[in-house]
């Protein structure tokens, strides 16, 4: 177990393993995306209230749900950095922050475009929207904190602490729709019954899209982490060999 753990922490090992996994992950992502998008755009029946704007859900919900994973991910990586000083964990934490900011922004913008018609407003200070905006600013905070501190070790420690504290907001986002019942609808239910409020022909493609965006998240994070490894390990023999043979 500990051998496996220390091996996983080795940037070289991760670089080689992720290189083997990436083509498969990209293949699965592409397949799920094609199925999900064609299904969402062509086959999902229009909602009886929202009409064709229901198709926005298949982009908005996957991005919004994966956005919630960034702070827990950075907190776990940060804890590993603080306790075991694993280099790889800090690299993941560093690359996750800007990626999280983009994903959160896309969730906010797509939600805003959706709401502009069905709610009649682009923005409202509703609990869900406000806590999501707070997450966006927290992520910007983590990014600036890292670039502001010149001592890289101090920067990664400070970011780790901020990531752990930032997890509180994830709970606020999650339960905001139950605490403040203003405009954003609560999470839907998945049921196989034909007369359920969310019939399978609506939520099955959503599950496909959620899985596709999870794969997209994994691919993006791995690609960015691999670059971070190449930069930080540039003095290592294996990176020099890689550069010479490129």
């Amino acid at each position: 177990m500990w051998l496996w753990f220390s091996k996983l922490g080795s940037p070289k090992w991760f670089y080689e393993l992720s290189g083997k996994w990436l083509p498969w992950l990209i293949a699965v992502m592409s397949l799920l995306l094609i199925i999900g998008i064609v299904w969402a755009l062509l086959f999902v029946p229009p909602d009886y209230q929202q009409g064709n704007t229901i198709r926005i859900m298949y982009i908005h919900v996957p991005f919004a749900s994966i956005s919630l994973a960034f702070f827990p991910l950075m907190a776990v990586a940060g804890t590993i950095t603080l306790v075991w000083r694993m280099k790889l964990a800090d690299m993941v934490a560093k690359t996750a922050a800007p990626l999280g900011a983009w994903f959160t922004a896309l969730a906010l913008i797509s939600g805003s475009i959706w709401g502009s018609d069905i709610w009649g407003t682009w923005w409202i200070w509703d609990g869900r929207l406000t806590s999501m905006l707070l997450q966006f600013f927290l992520l910007i905070g983590v990014i600036s904190l890292r670039s502001a501190l010149e001592d890289t070790e101090a920067a990664s420690k400070a970011c780790a602490v901020l990531s752990i504290v930032g997890c509180i907001n994830v709970f606020v986002i999650k339960f905001s729709v139950d605490w403040w019942n203003t405009l954003h609808q609560p999470a839907g239910s998945f049921s196989l019954a034909d007369d359920a409020p969310n019939p399978p022909e609506v939520w099955v493609p959503l599950v496909v899209m959620i899985l596709a965006i999870y794969c997209f998240f994994a691919v993006s994070l791995i690609l960015a982490t691999r670059n971070e490894i190449l930069v930080r390990e540039r003095r290592a023999q294996w990176v020099e060999d890689l550069a010479c043979n490129s």
Binding site: P46, N52, T53, R55, L106, S110, W114, F216, R234, A243
Partner: protein
């Protein structure tokens, strides 16, 4: 399978029942974000390796110069 398509014509599909702007802007945003997010790291990787290679070549050259006392570049 095709009888389940919700649109009767291509123009009907683009019109999205009057929500063309909302639906298509979100999907366009997604496609742009998706493409950039995959292209940028790939370009960045090439750039990192190129810089790395240049640094190694320069280091190699200066080592040779020091050892031979010769100023001509190989």
């Amino acid at each position: 399978m095709f009888e389940n398509v919700q649109f009767s014509s291509l123009s009907d599909f683009f019109a999205m029942g009057g929500y063309a702007f909302n639906v298509w802007s979100v999907y366009l945003l997604f496609v742009v974000f998706f493409a950039i997010n995959l292209a940028v790291p790939v370009i960045r990787k090439k750039q990192i390796l190129r810089e790395q290679k240049r640094r190694l070549v320069l280091a190699q050259e200066s080592r040779v110069r020091r050892e031979t006392g010769n100023d001509t570049v190989l």
